[in-house]
Amino acid sequence: MRRLLPVLFVLLATAAMGASRGDEAAARATVLARFDAALRADTGALERLLADDLDYCNFRGECESKRQYIDELKTGVLRYAAIAPTVEKVKLFADTAAVTGKVTATATRAGVQRTIHAAYLAVLVWRDSRWQLTSWSTTLLELNETK
């Protein structure tokens, strides 16, 4: 029995700490990987980087689900030509991260090309041993539109 005690302790400690969690560097990397996947319309990567309960709210305040966002990229309704992001801050709350930064992106949506400079708030959740984007919102700082 005495020999079992250390094992029991380890099990309890592990249970108390929970499963391994993501760190700040991984959260930053995930946000940047998501921009990169969007730019390359890599829907396979986006399937992993976006949470199933994603709320993707653009600079107009219109929100889309994961399926809608990926479908727009798949069908070419939304096509990014360039994305230049910066990550300014990461706040970790156990299995959730709030990431803020700025981005300049040029994209064509439904035939209209826009270059936006925006500030963003990305909320990531740690699921299936990886960070996933569950909420995205932007504040428009500058807009150039070409029809």
Binding site: M1, R2, L5, L8, L12, D53, D55, C57, F59, R60, G61, C63, K89, K91, F93, A94, D95, T96, A98, T100, A119, Y120, L121, V123, V125, T134, S135, S137, T138, T139, L140, L141
Partner: protein, 156 residues
């Protein structure tokens, strides 16, 4: 044999105490969606009434409060702007569109009609907002706020 029984009893007591502590913790701390929604609405109300002591408890110390013009403030700067009258809310009519609970964090999406004065300039606008709340010290606290002016807003 006696030693074995004693050890087993100690382990069982330890396990029982641990589970009891977990249950007690769960009872005391209940970060739910209803509470997160309520904290969001109370925060709007406190802002309109300039109730800075209530805001002290509703805002997290690590708050990032980013306005619809992109300017961001910390907790101190935000509360001070109300104390000094730099920011004066006359009315806020908020609607919560969705609330997502992620353990000790809640993400609230919504929109609001805001009437305010900032640096002497009149603001009359419709905003969309994302509010991130964190459960600390037994209550929901606002830790990240981002808003945007909705396109059809009659901004002045």
């Amino acid at each position: 044999m006696k030693t074995r029984r004693t050890t087993l009893a100690v382990v069982l007591i330890a396990l029982s105490a641990l589970s009891g502590a977990c249950l007690a913790k769960d009872k005391a701390a209940t970060p739910d969606e209803t509470g997160a929604r309520a904290a969001t609405l109370t925060r709007f109300d406190a802002a309109v009434h300039g109730d800075t002591s209530l805001l002290e408890s509703l805002l997290a110390d690590d708050l990032d409060y980013c306005h619809s013009n992109g300017d961001c403030q910390g907790k101190r700067a935000y509360i001070d702007s109300m104390k000094t009258g730099t920011m004066k809310y006359r009315s806020i009519e908020p609607t919560i569109d969705s609330a997502k609970l992620l353990g000790q964090v809640a993400v609230i999406l919504g929109h609001a009609k805001v009437n305010a004065t900032r640096d002497g300039a009149e603001l009359n606008m419709q905003i969309g907002f994302t509010s991130v709340l964190v459960w600390r010290a037994g209550r929901w606290q606002l830790t990240s706020w981002r808003s945007l002016t909705l396109p059809d807003a009659p901004a002045k």
